[in-house]
Symmetry: C2
Subunit: 235 residues, 2 copies
Amino acid sequence: MDRTAPGAAANRLLAHLPRRDRDHFVRGCERVDLEFNKILAEPGDTMRHIHFPTGGFVSLLAVMPDGVPIEVALVGNEGMVGMPLALGLERSSGRALVQGAGSALRMGGAKFRRELQASPALRATVDRYIHACIGQLAQTAGCNRFHVVEERLARWLLMTSDRAHSATFHITHEFLAMMLGVRRVGVTKAASALQRRKLISYTRGDIRIRDRAGLEAAACGCYKADLAIYDRAFN
Amino acid sequence: MDRTAPGAAANRLLAHLPRRDRDHFVRGCERVDLEFNKILAEPGDTMRHIHFPTGGFVSLLAVMPDGVPIEVALVGNEGMVGMPLALGLERSSGRALVQGAGSALRMGGAKFRRELQASPALRATVDRYIHACIGQLAQTAGCNRFHVVEERLARWLLMTSDRAHSATFHITHEFLAMMLGVRRVGVTKAASALQRRKLISYTRGDIRIRDRAGLEAAACGCYKADLAIYDRAFN
DNA sequence: GCGCGGTGGTGCGGTAGCGCACAGACAAGC
DNA sequence: GCTTGTCTGTGCGCTACCGCACCACCGCGC
């Protein structure tokens, strides 16, 4: 993957654009930091920018009527945050929360829409990503219904590791519990089971994946299904 | 809402188009029957047509890696079946199953994409629907995690009643169990509780909603949230 | 009349996850 | 050193739902 504009290939979605479109697009963006725990959008917020993470990653959370949040999708440098803008709407329907600090390319909503009009390749790439995201949402809906905490935790760790591009990252049980929509002790129980099986290790929020293949086997099939969905959208 | 082309307003999504676009679009469609239990798409299938239900309604199901299906969205005459086509892809990622017999307007995929190019209003309307659908998927993901069968059943009955435009419709406990991803006896238990509370009545698959307001109170907030999502997308 | 398939209801033991409460372990700051 | 806050682990009773099995009822066809 050639890097004709700085950071162009650091977001894999933008890397799918033909060089000319990509260079033009990236030049129109500004580089911003994604700071840990920062909220990029709340339900009902007007979204000012679309973000293409280059490092770091962002959780998309549904906020239930009683205010309890749950993660429904995870966005790293393979995707973008701000799908509503690509669909002609301004208001976010969920919460977007920075999970892993890093950086992103961002562009104002109005400008982004002009770019979408101007570049069929951009439009096509963004649409494919939306398609993949819809698939991931549907997968997650089923996963939440059928799979036990230990499997879902394993899936989450793998997805996060992929997006962090690292076998280690930082997240507490408390936070994980929020993501998975379970109690903290549920995470503690599942995580210590995974640790006992020597698949992961952790202390005070520092998590390390020790046996990736084993963890994949411990995760529900949704992890592989997610990969397949992205693959089919962009193959 | 005026009916300048036959069936134009029978699909509320198409009814959002300016008259000229709508008439043109509807003339390019063919009218087809949606026959009960017919599968419009399986995961991985090439989608030949996009469908705009005019009567009848269609379940979108995620098929889990072990083959077990679960409903993730419900499409009536407020929507369309074939989102992937609108996003430049041909392969369905889930299963589309006719739940309520009726009819639809349909158009071939290639032609539909040409129409999307030609009519910004069509593109905008379809995009808004996709946005609403994403919201519904996220809501369902959370609902599946947090809410008990009785609440989810009530939500499903209300959503279905809305799409059937009727307080009565036909569906067995067995089938409902598949939609909700629970055992048949789980549905039996929840349904008889709702019946005891005089919110619904049923015999051998014939379901009637007797107290709509009561049923709304018995449903989880996801039902109202769904309505709000659609409303915000199209207000 | 009889059998049979489709539908709904019940019972029973098992388990995953819940709410709540409390205890230990480590880190950082004073 | 001591305190305070954060993080992780354990115990307990409870509930929703599970898998499995069996039964009752109804309508239809032979």
